[in-house]
Amino acid sequence: MTSMQKWTTKHLTLCAVLTALALALSTLENLFPVTLLIPLPGVKLGLANIVTLFALYYLGTGSAFMILIARCLLGALFAGNASALLFSLLGGVLAMAIMALLRRCRKLSVYGVSIAGAAGHNIGQICAAMITLGNTMVLGYLPFLLLVSLFSGALTGFVVALLFRAMEHVKLSRT
């Protein structure tokens, strides 16, 4: 999306719905904490990343970025936690930037883009943790988070691939 896009009501609504969906997925995810299985802070399935990835392909970088920012702000508002905002923003923006770049590579499928995005999200979160804690101790978690991101990224990619396959038959006009 290079030129200024025209914000039709339909486009705006679609963005809003996707934002709501991302928030709902984050909340859903918190109900099933993966941290019980793998006791590492920050281990998540990253279901909200499904929305980011979908929006990136379907609506373009600009809209996906706006959905991401809205999700982070509202998510922090719901959680009532200012430091959570830094975590989700740094993680989200880094994941977004990596995915937006890799998306242009035609030799990569949605899986590769998704895994790179999940890894970027974890790196961003570790950076946020290092900033808030003021020491590099948390860096020790990164290898494990990266390993988990291989699986969570592949899962996200799989879901988005399913989504696009299902939508081949849906004539949802892109306005």
Partner: protein, 137 residues
């Protein structure tokens, strides 16, 4: 308005494996860089407890006569149990409870991090080397 966005490649391609490999290599590099230098130190465990950037307490675990219960006041309040074998957070009023779920740490280089409380409990010095740090999955 029509967007120029093309749908993604839905089938995994060869280059995806490269991406996964890069992530894997990055994980190994960070792991080696972080845990590598910490192996092979003296087998004298010291628990370093810090809140934010400030180290509030250093406890020599090897010379500990009996288990010690410590209350750490960060952004949240943590009850830390220190013993000869290591440390664990037994109670915390933080919302995530990740520090409690981390469980018992007993080896140098391991740490318990409570992000909401901004508390880090880190073990210095090494004991049984070569054992896995954490078993994942």
């Amino acid at each position: 308005m029509t967007t120029k966005c093309s749908p993604p490649e839905l089938r995994p391609k060869k280059l995806d494996i490269l991406v996964a490999a890069v992530v894997l290599v990055l994980a190994v590099v960070v792991a080696v860089g972080f845990y590598g230098p910490k192996l092979g130190q003296s087998d004298h465990l010291t628990a370093v407890i810090s809140v934010g950037e400030e180290v509030i307490e250093r406890v020599d675990l090897a010379t500990l006569k009996e288990d010690k219960l410590l209350t750490v006041e960060g952004e949240c309040t943590l009850n830390v149990l220190l013993s000869n074998s290591g440390a664990e957070v037994i109670l915390s009023d933080c919302p995530t409870q990740d520090c409690v779920h981390t469980g018992h740490i007993s080896r140098a280089g391991q740490s318990i991090v409570c992000l909401p409380g901004q508390v880090v409990i880190h073990l210095e010095g090494a004991s049984d080397e070569g054992a896995p740090d954490i078993v994942v999955g």
